[in-house]
């Protein structure tokens, strides 16, 4: 399922007191890929992704989700199928848990979308196991879990609806390095299982490691929408203009290029960068001394 955003404008408020947030957005979210949305705080990232499942409706233009078209005129009651297709995981999703047990919380979405108790339970168990949640804790209260476990439950709550597309707003925020790595792996696994992933992130390392496509937002407009390699091949000055950091790997590669080293492709990981550098270093120069 492809999501198309066509000529979209969005403003908060009505009448004279409108605050324009998004201006003339044209985008395609390709299916089966991870699309990262990046940009400074206030550039309109969160507002943009809320158009994808019609939590916000366009002021002008339209969003086409699969077969369905959302415009400013679309009625609330017609939005359920879109919400079922596009799951939304907000920042710190663990702060939305509510049910007495983990299993009941995860079953909430499927039940809302018309699943029977049995179907919902199956969907919930499948989702919980997909996020690596311990089966022994299914009947626990979600409020007795650790922060990391609570987040898994919240992700499972969206995954259980079996949406075709999942939107994540800073999914790794507040996790420690090990927790972050696990979460990123989960996003990759979801993509490999055929889901379309949209990811808002401030962490450029995450974007580089995960994304296929990247959308750069600036002042409510799309500053760039392209493959991740194309984006990070842009000069450093361009990123400074967008107030964005470069991933450390890329920044390092660009510095080394400036120092006369050559690379045949953009290094996505430290290991890749090291492999490309190795042949260009004369380690015999190191000799026995210790370069303090």
């Amino acid at each position: 399922m492809v999501i198309n955003i066509e000529g979209l404008d969005f403003a908060y408020g009505a009448g004279k007191q409108t605050v324009p947030v998004l201006k003339d957005i044209n985008l395609t979210i390709e299916s089966g890929k991870i699309t990262a949305i990046i940009g400074q705080t206030g550039s309109g990232k969160s507002t943009l992704v809320q158009q994808l499942n019609a939590l916000l409706k366009p002021t002008a233009g339209q969003v086409v989700v699969g077969e369905q078209v959302v415009t400013s005129q679309t009625k609330e009651k017609d939005l359920a199928p879109i919400r079922a297709k596009v799951g939304m995981v907000f920042q710190f999703p663990e702060s939305q848990l509510f049910a007495p047990t983990v299993l009941e919380d995860v079953m909430y979405g499927p039940l809302n979308f018309g699943a029977s108790q049995k179907e919902a339970k199956e969907a919930a168990e499948k989702a919980l196991s997909a996020v690596g949640f311990d089966q022994k804790l299914y009947e626990q209260s979600p409020f007795n879990l650790s922060g990391g476990q609570m987040r898994r439950v919240a992700l499972a709550g969206v995954l259980a609806m079996n949406p075709e597309t999942m939107v994540f707003d800073e999914p790794a925020a507040g996790l420690d390095p090990a927790g972050q790595a696990e979460l990123l792996q989960l996003l990759k696994d979801l993509r490999d299982s055929g889901k379309t992933i949209v990811l808002i992130s401030h962490q450029m390392e995450q974007v580089l490691a995960l994304a296929d496509q990247v959308v750069v937002m600036k002042d409510g407009q799309v500053a760039a929408a392209e493959a991740v390699d194309t984006l990070f091949s842009r000069p450093k000055a361009w990123f400074e203009e967008q107030h964005l950091d470069l991933p450390e790997t890329i920044a390092f590669q660009k510095e080394m290029e400036a120092a006369g080293f050559t690379f045949d492709h953009l290094a996505k990981t430290g290991a890749d960068l090291a492999a490309q550098l190795k042949g260009q270093l004369d380690l015999s120069k190191l000799g026995g001394d210790h370069h303090e």
Binding site: Q40, D176, H202, A259, Q280, H291
Partner: protein, 273 residues
């Protein structure tokens, strides 16, 4: 140099989950910048709460300068040690920036007439004096954390503990807070002791010394330069190495000295074949 904070043979258990610290000792010198790192749930934030008497421990002793922490010295300890918490919204007491800085001064019964100057001075130190009349919901996360710092600075503490103060900020907000910390440390030098609780190695690299905690145990206590060479151990502890050090390991180069990214770039250039 005297010790700002001495923790001796501390034992503490969570009320429900059970034991955390067992015979734990750690000290911080006056004027030192100490980073306490560890994965989520390692006990690092609990340690900060224990120092400020927000939690009661079972055994051991915590000393802040020459005061042994107890019911009687609690007020004195809290006037010596300030703390900035993780969530920018949940520590903003006042209705405006100035009112928030005033809150601590009001508690200390500073006369009204002396407050405006103290508030102005504290806000200037964090670059927020132009925002004195702003309400919290009009500020960014980074700005709120700087106000939280100003609120602590206004009370002229000798020690400031930052408990994951940048964890909820965007990169820009985080950089602004870190830059601000550097400036404060440069200004106050040995008169200000900083304890920074974090799992971010970039932040740990700013400290003079890093204490690594895992499940309530002190695993390492050394300079960042030597700690960062221990890539394998850090990963086992759920932590990371700074980028430059990880890259050097991947190149298979055993250089005993720690290098920042810039230093590594310059050094590798000399090795060009």
């Amino acid at each position: 140099m005297t010790d700002a904070i001495t923790i001796k043979n501390l034992t503490y258990s969570y009320p429900e989950q059970g034991g955390l610290f067992q015979d734990f000792s750690l000290s911080v010198k006056e004027g030192e910048w100490l980073a306490i790192v560890g994965h989520n749930g390692s006990g690092k934030s609990t340690l900060a709460k224990l120092i400020l008497g927000l939690l009661d421990f079972e055994e051991g002793r915590i000393k802040v300068f020459d005061q042994v922490l107890s019911e009687q010295t609690l007020a004195a300890v809290r006037s010596t040690v300030g703390m900035v918490f993780q969530n920018p919204d949940n520590q903003f007491v006042g209705a405006t920036v100035a009112d928030d800085v005033a809150f601590g001064l009001e508690n200390r019964q500073i006369p009204s007439l002396e407050m405006p100057a103290k508030i102005e001075k504290a806000l200037k130190q964090v670059g927020m004096n132009a925002y004195a009349d702003r309400e919290p919901h009009t500020l960014s996360g980074g700005q709120k954390q700087r106000v939280a710092m100003a609120s602590v600075l206004a009370l002229e503490p000798k020690v400031i503990i930052l408990d994951e103060a940048t964890a909820m900020l965007d990169p820009e907000g985080k950089q602004a807070v870190l830059q601000n910390l550097k400036e404060l440390k440069a200004r106050y030098q040995d008169e200000l002791t900083l304890i920074m609780i974090t799992h971010d190695m970039e932040e740990a690299a700013m400290a003079d010394r890093v204490a690594v905690i895992d499940d309530g145990k002190l695993i390492f206590d050394e300079k960042p330069e030597t700690l960062f060479l221990k890539g394998e151990r850090l990963r086992e502890l759920g932590l990371t190495q700074p980028f430059a050090m990880a890259l050097r390991e991947q190149l298979g180069i055993q250089n005993p000295a720690y290098q920042t990214t810039q230093e590594l770039v310059a050094w590798l250039s000399t090795l060009k074949a």
